[in-house]
């Protein structure tokens, strides 16, 4: 069993790439952790689909106001400079290319940037939310994911077999083992854990990992 980053560490790594003042949308669940790890001196402005820009952290338990929630229906708070708006204006921000980065989870990402993250197939109740809008709006669409499924199958694949969220939309993938860019229809390896060899990583990846310059060490603190 290879050592790998925890979800929190993956989120930490993704947070390092967010500039001060960036407008950011974090997907429901795991990607929401990114907000905790903003580097010292940088402050991103967080957008949530249901009509808030610049919201703050979760309130103390018992202080929730259920008119003040994020897209995951979790209570948030306002900060100086928060703005409220309706859903059409909210998605104008998304679709109009005004967000600097959207960070989402994934079931599968293909080497051309196709993303599958909303449906595991025809069974059950389908639900999409704002994911299909986010992947075609933000300037950068990043994915946070374990490098493989629980049973060891690649999540970085040649072609997605699950229903697509968007075509050729992902620009960077932060996994439990590596940082991979999508470039000209290829996976390009940017960083990997020191503890894993290129060949091992390739064997856990469903499509060729290309090289474009040095591969840096992927290092994340205990968080």
């Amino acid at each position: 069993m290879t050592a790998k980053l925890s979800n929190a560490q993956i989120a930490w790594r993704a947070a390092q790439d967010i500039d001060d003042g960036a407008y950011v949308n974090l997907g429901i669940g795991f990607p929401e952790m990114v907000a905790r790890f903003q580097p010292e001196g940088r402050e991103a402005v967080f957008h949530t689909e249901n009509g808030i820009l610049g919201f703050g952290e979760a309130p103390q338990p018992g202080d929730e106001d259920w008119d003040l929630i994020n897209a995951g229906k979790k209570a948030v708070t306002i900060k100086p400079g928060t703005a409220f708006f309706h859903h059409a204006d909210s998605f104008a921000m998304v679709r109009g290319g005004h967000l600097d980065v959207a960070i989402l989870g994934a079931y599968q990402v293909a080497q051309n940037g196709d993303l599958a993250n909303w449906s595991t197939g025809p069974k059950g109740v389908p639900a999409v939310g704002g994911a299909m809008d986010l992947v075609h709006g933000a300037k950068r669409v990043a994915v946070l994911t374990d490098h493989t499924t629980k049973d060891g199958k690649p999540k970085l694949v040649q072609h997605c077999t699950l229903p697509l969220t968007g075509v050729a939309c992902v620009t960077r993938i932060y996994t439990s083992l590596a940082v991979v860019d999508i470039q000209d229809g290829h996976f390009v390896l940017r960083e990997k854990l020191v503890s894993i060899s290129f060949d091992e990583l390739q064997s856990l990846t469903g499509a060729p990992l290309h090289l474009d310059g040095d591969v840096a060490d992927l290092i994340a603190p205990e968080v």
């Binding site: 808030i52 929630i69 309706h86 859903h87 059409a88 679709r95 389908p126 639900a127 999409v128």
Partner: protein
């Protein structure tokens, strides 16, 4: 002009069988619980309105609000982006049993389709959903080298929304993120009724602060201390209350 309506029962009296009803709210924020429950009361006492198509971001949570409408069998079809919730059993069971229809729409497309309905735009192009199952069968077109999907407007016979302050002319303000879909739905429905926490005379809302102008609102009914769906669900409330 005075658009005030005296009672919740009166506010929902015009909704007919087979109607399409937009209901404001995103999860519990902005959910017009009292209007919805008044509609359920009417259905339980008269058998009408039934066979409704309901447009909302979600498909109900727990056993109150839209979930309670579904539970009572009033809803034939949901148009929504995210029919999941903390307790989605009511919708899920009926959906899996083939007893309720679902039109799943990406959230931004849902919002824009409703706005288009209100703004007289019969169709528009969006990058959202291109190449996915949710765009299957829809016209596509290329603009400036990029592919887009054509989406149609969405209109309704009625909109039931929750606002914060309303004046007699129907001008509305909202409370924080409870705004969400309400201003769009008010535009897109043939008849819009708002429940508001506070009714003021014309002039009681700063003209700069009006979010929904009165032209989009047909009636308003005062509900001074509205229930919050999330709070009801955390208390395991069922509507109507099961009495022994």
């Amino acid at each position: 002009m005075d658009k005030r309506i005296a009672s919740l029962a009166e506010a929902v009296a015009d909704i007919t069988d087979n109607a399409t009803v937009m209901i404001g709210g995103f999860g519990g924020s902005g959910a017009p619980i009292e209007l919805i429950h008044a509609l359920i009361d009417r259905y339980l006492s008269t058998g009408s309105p039934g066979n409704l198509t309901v447009i909302n971001n979600n498909a109900g949570n727990g056993h109150v609000g839209i979930a309670a409408m579904i539970e009572q069998g009033m809803v034939a079809k949901m148009i929504c982006s995210f029919p999941r919730s903390a307790d989605p059993r009511v919708f899920t069971e009926r959906y899996l049993a083939g007893q309720i229809e679902l039109e799943l729409v990406p959230q931004g497309t849902l919002a824009e389709r409703i706005r288009a309905g209100g703004a007289g735009i019969p169709a528009f192009y969006t990058p959202t959903g291109f190449g996915t199952d949710l765009a299957a069968g829809k016209p596509v077109a290329q603009f400036d080298g990029r592919q887009y999907v054509q989406e149609r407007w969405l209109k309704a016979d009625f909109a039931l929304i929750k606002a914060e302050t309303g004046d007699h002319l129907g001008n509305l303000t909202y409370r924080m993120a409870a705004r969400n879909f309400a201003p769009l739905m008010a535009m897109a429905a043939a008849r819009t009724v708002a429940q508001v926490s506070r009714i003021v005379a014309p002039g009681g809302i700063d003209p700069e602060a009006v979010v929904t102008a009165g032209i989009f609102v047909d009636g308003l009914v005062a509900v001074p201390t509205p229930a919050q769906e999330e709070v009801l669900n955390r208390a395991n409330v069922t509507y109507p209350e099961v009495t022994a």
